[in-house]
């Protein structure tokens, strides 16, 4: 299961999970970036009660909104006099970090029930960094470092941010780890209906770049590799902001519907090797 970048929309992975469970399909590996890492971790840790998982995700998202950092904003404008903090982000992250440290205390990748790979990006080198070992806290916090909002996170001397800027739907990581059937849940960033402010302009540039990046990488990986990739791209029919927590039930439902649409094909794929075996034996 590959969970792509998509902010709050990543919660719809719970909808996909409920369909897979209903069908009795097991997940043997999770690759996640950005908001998907939070859902991915919950599944990998062996979470069973989906409503409880959604509730925890909601609390986590609430906690991630630190107060607006006026200090950083002022510094951004007067960097020449005030100096620049390499850990730049417009939101304060102290209380979120404390919350995450408390909930992920002592958890290591090696302890998880299902192998988990979190995708982040090295801010200085621009390279993708896959975290699959060691403390989960570092990997999760780095994956969640939404550019410009949450400050980057330092892991082993490298400053890491949300992997979405390198690889918004990291199917190639799953392929490299040996996956042959991949359910990839990705999100296109919705375009702005009107560009009437500086914020809308920034969002439009980011959305256009991220969508192109996702499509180009997906097109290449589908073509170049032999793994079966089933893309699940939910359609929410509206803009979803990071703070639209009230939309969560809708997002989960759309994730469920989008996954159901792909089920006939997935069932056929999963049945195929078994069929081939019985045919060969008779």
């Amino acid at each position: 299961m590959v969970l792509g970048a998509g902010g709050l929309r990543c919660v719809s992975a719970f909808g996909a999970l409920s369909v897979l469970r209903r069908e009795g399909i097991e997940i043997d590996m999770i690759v996640a970036c950005s908001g998907g890492a939070a859902v991915g971790y919950w599944i990998a840790a062996g979470g069973t009660d989906i409503p409880e998982g959604i509730a925890r995700y909601t609390v986590g998202m609430e906690r991630s909104f630190g107060a607006f950092s006026y200090r950083q904003a002022v510094r951004a404008v007067f960097a020449r006099w005030l100096g620049h903090d390499p850990r730049f982000g417009l939101m304060k992250d102290r209380s979120f970090n404390a919350y995450m440290a408390a909930s992920l205390k002592g958890v290591r990748f090696e302890d998880l029930k299902i192998p988990l790979h979190c995708v982040a990006a090295d801010l200085h080198l621009g390279e993708q960094v896959v975290l699959s070992r060691g403390p989960v806290l570092d990997a999760m916090r780095a994956s969640l470092a939404i550019p410009l909002l949450l400050p980057p996170w330092e892991v082993e001397g490298r400053l890491l941010v949300d992997g979405g800027i390198c690889n918004p739907l990291p199917v190639d990581v799953a392929m490299r780890e040996g996956a042959d059937i991949i359910l990839a849940m990705g999100f296109e960033d919705p375009l702005q209906p009107a560009i009437d402010s500086g914020v809308a302009l920034v969002r439009q540039v980011l959305a256009v770049s991220a969508n192109h990046l996702m499509r180009a990488q997906f097109a290449f990986h589908s073509m170049a590799h032999h793994a079966e990739v089933i893309a699940v791209i939910p359609d929410f029919g509206q803009q979803v902001g990071l703070r639209d927590l009230h939309l969560i039930p809708h997002l989960v439902r759309q994730g469920e519907l989008a996954t159901e649409r792909e089920m006939p094909y997935l069932r056929k794929l999963l049945a195929a090797p078994a069929q081939a075996l019985t045919e060969a034996s008779t």
């Binding site: 960097a79 730049f88 990006a121 080198l125 410009l148 302009l201 540039v205 256009v208 990046l213």
Partner: protein, 298 residues
């Protein structure tokens, strides 16, 4: 039969030239074009994106090295971005009060760059140039790549150069256009779509910054990371999906090139020529083999 043969001979030794985004480094394409010319290889089509659009136009106009270099030195000087557009900054801070308009938003005043383009290209139209020219931009409303192959040269180049935040987008035929690098930093797909068989692509990755000393640089670094990844993914896809032969020329610059290092333009052109010379034997062989076998043998 005879005419067919003649036609295929001329088609044999021609290539499409694609110049990706890369600011003043794109001047290397002038060196590449001159090496192709020396080798008797015809350029059948030029595609240019962002900084590349400017040099694609100079090549499509048929200018020789010296003229292209002189025009670059006149066009690309530090003062074209020296003036701030304070109105735009205010409109971003107080969108309601000042009336924010995307089509006017750019932190740099663009009157000088418009003036310079007008001086250099006047009323020239893309469809009248010697070599078919395609300038790429990005439709800012739907995000798709726009291939400009007719109309005034100046507005097409200006649209292709409209780096988000720095320069205001350009309104053209009812579309709001921004820099072509946002949708494809090295648009070989445009050449492929027009039936190119052999493509010479001059492309650049955005340099990574060692020091990220301000929020603006932080944002620039993010945008560079995204566009480098987009460049690689697009390139990989086009190489796998299409049968066109793509020869990539990535000039190596021993000196560091900054956005307005105009004094380094002659050096950049030489580096482009040098990089092209390294590939020219392979290119010749490819074009010969192509002619002999009739089609590329995969």
């Amino acid at each position: 039969m005879g005419t067919n043969l003649a036609k295929s001979t001329s088609a044999q030794s021609s290539v499409s030239l694609v110049i990706g985004s890369g600011s003043v480094k794109c001047a290397a394409a002038i060196g590449v074009a001159s090496v192709l010319r020396e080798a008797g290889i015809r350029i059948e089509r030029v595609v240019g994106c962002s900084g590349g659009a400017l040099f694609a136009t100079l090549i499509a106009m048929g200018h020789d090295d010296a003229t292209a270099r002189d025009m670059t030195l006149r066009l690309w000087t530090q003062d074209i971005t020296a003036r701030r557009n304070n109105r735009a900054l205010l409109s971003a801070l107080a969108p309601k009060l000042m009336g924010f308009k995307a089509s006017r938003f750019g932190l740099r005043d663009d009157s000088l760059i418009n003036h310079r383009l007008q001086e250099a290209f006047g009323d020239a139209r893309i469809e009248d140039l010697q070599v078919p020219l395609h300038i790429t931009a990005t439709n800012f409303m739907d995000g798709e790549l726009v291939d400009l192959s007719r109309g005034p040269v100046t507005s097409a180049i200006r649209a292709s150069l409209a780096i988000p935040f720095a320069f205001a987008p350009v309104e053209l035929d009812g579309q709001l256009l921004v820099d072509g690098y946002v949708s494809d930093p090295l648009p070989i797909s445009v050449a492929i779509k027009h039936g190119a068989r052999v493509i010479v692509a001059v492309g650049f990755e955005s340099p990574m910054m060692e020091q990220i000393g301000s929020a603006g640089r932080f944002a620039m670094q993010l945008s560079s990371i995204m566009s480098n990844n987009l460049l690689r993914a697009r390139y990989a896809f086009n190489s796998v999906a299409h049968h066109a032969e793509v020869i990539t020329i990535i000039p190596e610059f021993k000196k560091r090139i900054r956005l307005f290092d105009t004094d380094k333009v002659p050096y950049i052109i030489d580096a482009g020529a040098q990089a092209a010379r390294e590939q020219i034997d392979y290119l010749r062989r490819l074009l010969d083999v192509d002619g002999a076998a009739g089609a590329r043998v995969q």
